[in-house]
Symmetry: C2
């Protein structure tokens, strides 16, 4: 609503901020559709590249999911299963490569957890489905 083309902040970032706020406030509920590219272009008086850039940014943040030929949707919050980090183990988080995203069928904006156990084994887990724990 308050997009200023003369701002130093890129237009697509401003629109992403706006949409992110609407998602966070629940105005755009999980599972609901974002306005179409054409609507966002018209209503905010901005270009298609800006709209696509904003949605692309939200995808990279894992907030929305775009279905080709259908629209972009607010991602449902997935239930995380608990996985124990074994003694002597360690874990790093990073973004998956394109091949990993394909083979693990991950949406954009979903990090992976790279878990190492002391024996040297490595497991790569989708970060949106897993909560790592260390029992008390």
């Amino acid at each position: 609503m308050t997009i200023d083309p003369r701002s130093h902040t890129p237009v697509y970032v401003q629109l992403a901020d706006l949409l992110r706020e609407q998602i966070g406030s629940g105005e755009l509920a999980p599972g609901s559709a974002l306005p179409s590219e054409a609507r966002l272009t018209q209503e905010h008086g901005i270009g298609r590249e800006a709209v696509r850039g904003a949605i692309s940014l939200l995808r990279s943040e894992g907030l929305v999911n775009t279905v080709r030929g259908h629209g972009s949707y607010v991602r449902e919050v997935t239930e995380r299963r608990q996985v124990e980090l074994m003694p002597g183990g360690s874990v790093v988080a990073r973004m998956p490569s394109g091949k990993e995203r394909q083979s693990m069928q991950l949406d954009e904006g979903v990090p992976v957890l790279e878990v190492r156990d002391p024996a040297g084994g490595v497991k790569v887990l989708p970060a949106d489905e897993v909560e790592l724990t260390r029992p008390a």
Copy 2:
């Protein structure tokens, strides 16, 4: 490797694969600049939109960093400091919000680790600087 416009794989994905390989092999070293959009456009005989799409993809993977008016650069590999996951603690990984990215000065494509200790405290750590461990 040459780019085939008639392939089923989108041109921008093909270019991203190419650049990712050059980054992985060290041909494009950490800190070094990617060829400019104009160069990539000319040398591969493709449109600027495809070039920008490829770079955007690499940004979302945390492989490169773009500075307006300057260029895109291969991200330096940061040394990960080890942080112990306390007994009774847990951790999830996710992408940061725009505000978090700004306040924590994170580049695009860098996840965060949300660490909970049993007392209920929550710490948000940049995933590219941290390796969580559980001592044996």
